[in-house]
Amino acid sequence: MNLGSVVVSVGKVASGAFGWSSAQMFPALKAMAPATGLNLLEFSAGSVKVSRGTYAKKAVCIKPATGNFKGDVSVSVKGTTFKTSPASLAAKMGAASACADLGTAATT
């Protein structure tokens, strides 16, 4: 990441809110609440490990920040460097979480 750049994540993970920045050029970012009517969606773990050329079993899990899912939710990874199996993580209303294998090519 270049000096002076900032990446902000809208959302939250189990260990707290995550953003990545080179903070020297920025004041502290204040905590923000989700828009009215929206609930926080998060990963079960903030980071995962994958070995090249393989899928890591059940590496990615999504869950609501509190309680179970209030409606059907599906998410998918952007780009082509990483893939999930199945292609999207889908949770039905009432489910606690949804998981998928995460993989990347041997050349990553």
Partner: protein, 221 residues
Amino acid sequence: MSTHMVRWSVNNGTNLYTALPVLKVMVDGVKAEVKVPTEVTCSLGGRSVPISVTASAVPFGDIKVKLLTSSTKNGDKTVQESVGITPDTNEVVLKVGTSEGVLGFACNTTITGTKLKYNLDGSDKLQFTIPSEVTVKGQKAGTRPDAPKMTLAGVASASTPSKTVVEGECPGMGASWICLTPVSWKASILGKATDVRAAAAKFVKGAEGNYKNQQWYYQSV
């Protein structure tokens, strides 16, 4: 090891949930393992026991495993190590949705060779390890029993309302298929090994809605 910030899309449920944060993914070069036996018995004048091929991880693309004859160089001389042993020409392709396969080979009535080689190919071959060779042991075929006793029974102590555990015993080396079907379905008994293989091949382990189908289990013996 390299670190990647992976972005995600919420495709369904955007009216209820926020977007996801980026996910930190650490990619390493730890190699997975192709699991194959390093010693296999074959019946002289017949076939090897089925060689089950699995892997410790699912390949991102695919890996392909097949058996080849083995030879070594001793100076200018080539020493054949698979005399009397003929590997099958098929290859096992492991990929998403295919987690196992079977290899095999034929043995002459007399074999002087003792080895075959495993050949690993496919888009992810460099990320997997496999034993380089398999040692072949010939065994004189026994007398084929006319009516071999085969036992198969439920194990009540290990079964639950949602899971039935059964154990069986085979009369000798080879392959074992077990099929479970509710009595009310009145499934016909398959009398030929080829029919059993075909029926078992249609069963995809772990597929959605499998509870509606006959349950098949395969194990080399």
